[in-house]
């Protein structure tokens, strides 16, 4: 009951730097990390998948594995006397208030060393602020809103790209296609009315204006709507050279089905991942998605350049009965980055782990991602998390951009 008798009354601006827990004199046997995900509600599957990704990562950290990933070779965290990582999960039900409350519970009751999460950007928002107040590092695994790292938080870290990187990657690709003689003049934006949709479409609109593309359809739809027929009808009428959807699983399925029902075969789709990286979408409408292009933080076919991919994917697949995707790969890698930080900190003290994370320098070939490296800027954003573009061809994802990592040229039109 150490938490009860310690009086931490004086809390103010100093909160961020004062830590409530004493530095451990000797290394503990277990390092507890909290994972905060939607475990019930419309996105519960995300939580279930994330759990499998984290278990895979922890497995690799805790055991001895001959694979080129940080912390794989030795059992547990060497810097802490081979201590093992233990995960505790909590359900935030996509509610920022609940996320905040759960983060506080994980910090004060479970004494977690760090928190990883949270998928929904709105929840990552309040959870990261709570972590800041308690001086506990927050590893933002998969929320991609660009506003998150722009709040001067010292304990916030995001190894993966945010939506501006992603959209920039998409437009770089379009530019390259155009330069090689393909006609791309018009774009159709199709995005849900959430933070994700707003961030994604705002960036895309800005980039389109800067780079001389004409937006012929700008359709913001209500997420989880019973029908998208009129919305898709407008896309069909506009018949843009490229459709850019920002949709989660449910709407991605409905969008593609409705396109088929209205006899609309878009010239090309370049998706902002999300739903378009989920197995459920390809189970439902995979036959209509041949040639779909998506931005990605991860590509299975890069295994030639990153041998660890196959190793990790096999382990993940054994748990989750599906391949790693954009989300789960980011979750897996974020956990390894976090473990690496704690390992180098040789401590579970929040401030020390923070300092170690800030000094992270993991070369790209030590990750399963296409990234150049993992190294955080002062704002906690990895500066070298370049996305790739992948295309769904014959039931498999093929990396098509940038050229340096492409396995094949893009099939265009889809």
């Amino acid at each position: 009951m150490t938490g009860f008798n310690r009086r931490h009354v004086l809390i103010g601006t100093a909160a961020a730097t004062v830590t409530a827990r004493p530095a451990f004199a000797q290394a503990p046997a277990e390092i507890v990390i909290g994972a905060l995900y939607p475990m019930s509600g419309a996105n519960a599957q995300v939580g279930v998948d994330a759990r499998n990704a984290f278990e895979t990562a922890v497995d690799i950290v805790n055991g001895m594995h001959e694979v080129a990933l940080p912390g794989a070779k030795n059992a547990g965290l060497m810097g802490l006397g081979n201590a093992k990582i233990k995960l505790v999960y909590a359900d935030h039900q996509a509610d920022p208030q609940k996320g905040r409350a759960e983060a506080e519970r994980l910090i004060t009751q479970d004494k977690v060393t760090a928190i990883i999460g949270c998928y929904h950007s709105a929840v990552s928002n309040t959870v990261s602020v709570t972590c800041e107040k308690y001086g506990v590092p927050f590893m933002c695994a998969d929320s991609s809103s660009p506003s998150l790292h722009r709040r001067d938080l010292k304990f916030f870290f995001r190894p993966a790209a945010h939506d501006e990187f992603f959209s920039k990657g998409m437009f770089d690709f379009l530019d390259a296609q155009k330069a090689s003689g393909t006609k791309i003049e018009t774009l159709g934006l199709f995005y849900e009315d959430t933070i994700f949709g707003a961030d994604s479409s705002n960036t895309q609109r800005k980039l389109a204006a800067e780079r001389g593309y004409k937006i012929v359809a700008d359709i913001k739809y209500r997420a989880n709507s019973p029908t998208l027929t009129s919305e898709v009808q407008q896309l069909k009428t506009a018949d843009a050279d490229v459709v850019l959807p920002s949709s989660y699983t449910t709407d991605a399925i409905l969008l593609i089905k409705t396109m088929g029902e209205l006899g609309y075969k878009p010239k090309n789709i370049v998706a902002q991942a999300a739903g378009f990286s989920e197995k459920a979408v390809f189970d439902a409408v995979g036959d209509k998605l041949d040639g779909l292009i998506s931005r990605a933080s991860f590509a299975l076919d890069m295994a030639g350049k990153r041998p660890s991919i196959t190793y990790v994917n096999d382990k993940y697949k054994a748990r989750g009965n599906r391949d790693l995707n954009d989300n789960t790969a980011r979750q897996f890698m974020a956990m390894l980055v976090l473990a690496d930080g704690i390992d180098r900190a040789k401590s579970t003290d929040g401030e020390k782990v923070r300092a170690a994370l800030a000094a992270t320098a993991i070369p790209g070939d030590q990750t399963i991602m296409p990234w150049g490296k993992v190294a955080f800027g002062a704002d906690g954003q990895n500066v070298d998390a370049d996305p790739v573009l992948i295309q769904y061809i014959g039931g498999k994802w093929v990396t098509i951009f940038p050229k340096s990592v492409a396995a094949a040229p893009a099939k265009w039109p889809m």
Binding site: S40, G41, A42, N43, A44, Q45, G47, V48, D193, I219, K220, Y221, R222, N224, S225, P226, T227, L228, T229, S230, E231, Q233, Q234, T237, T249, T250, I253, L254, K257, G260, E261, L262, G263, E278, A280, V281, D283, A284, V285, G286, D287, K288
Partner: protein, 292 residues
Amino acid sequence: MTAQAFFQVLASGLLMGLLYALIAVGLSLIFGLMDVVNFAHGEFLMVAMYATFGLWAIVGVDPVLLMPLVIAFMFVFGAAVYLGVVRFAMRAKTNSGMVQIFATFGLAILIQGVSQLLFSPDYRSIPASWLGGRTVSIGGVFLPLPQVYGGLISVLAFAGLYLLMSRTDFGKALEATREDQGAVALVGIDRNKVFALGWGLGAALVGLAGSVLAIFYYIHPQVGGPFALVAYVVVALGGFGSVFGALAAGLIVGVVESFAAIAMPPAMKSIPVYLLYLGVVFIRPSGLFGRL
């Protein structure tokens, strides 16, 4: 807007409207019979969709053929919900309306939890079926076969319901019970039995909608919510308890929503539907065809 686009939007709206009406009519029927608003109506739809999916996955028969099984299952399910839950909620002496709302609200959460436990929270869908993904084009207006099938089923269901209510003893018992619950006991009608059958019928109707929807929609534990909201508005707009009102209101909502998504940012397409409801009840406080 071209004429072709206009007719496309109109046709899509009408087809969706028929489906909305079918989803809503069960709710309206139960309400008309016993003044109970079922807050688990969306979950009934979800259960029917999972039932279709589950049977399809196990038996491997096309969802069209599974439909009788699904509605039979839903009939039993609805009657069981009445006998196991609603019957007790109706005993409340004070504010029984609120007790019914929250008893069925609790039931809704319970059903969501059970489906998550049984089917996992993953998004399911039936990838290939006789009708799924097929579409016909008439003069450039595309009519997806699953929705056309759904529209036909809906029309037939309403016709059947009309015959049932007007021509059969059961229909007369329903009507009598709804007119005067006390008096029917005197003529030997078992009120509980009629109510249980009414709930079974209401659930079977939403089961019909679920078996159609499962062909072209995704399925997961939260899928019922957006449909339930539409259903409440449809029922209230048509007039609580009015079967014909549900049909008319369903079509109106479907068409208004379809055109609204063209005329304004689609994210706000429900607003005209809601305004329409408010406009109607401010003029006619019991909906289009309701009795007060």
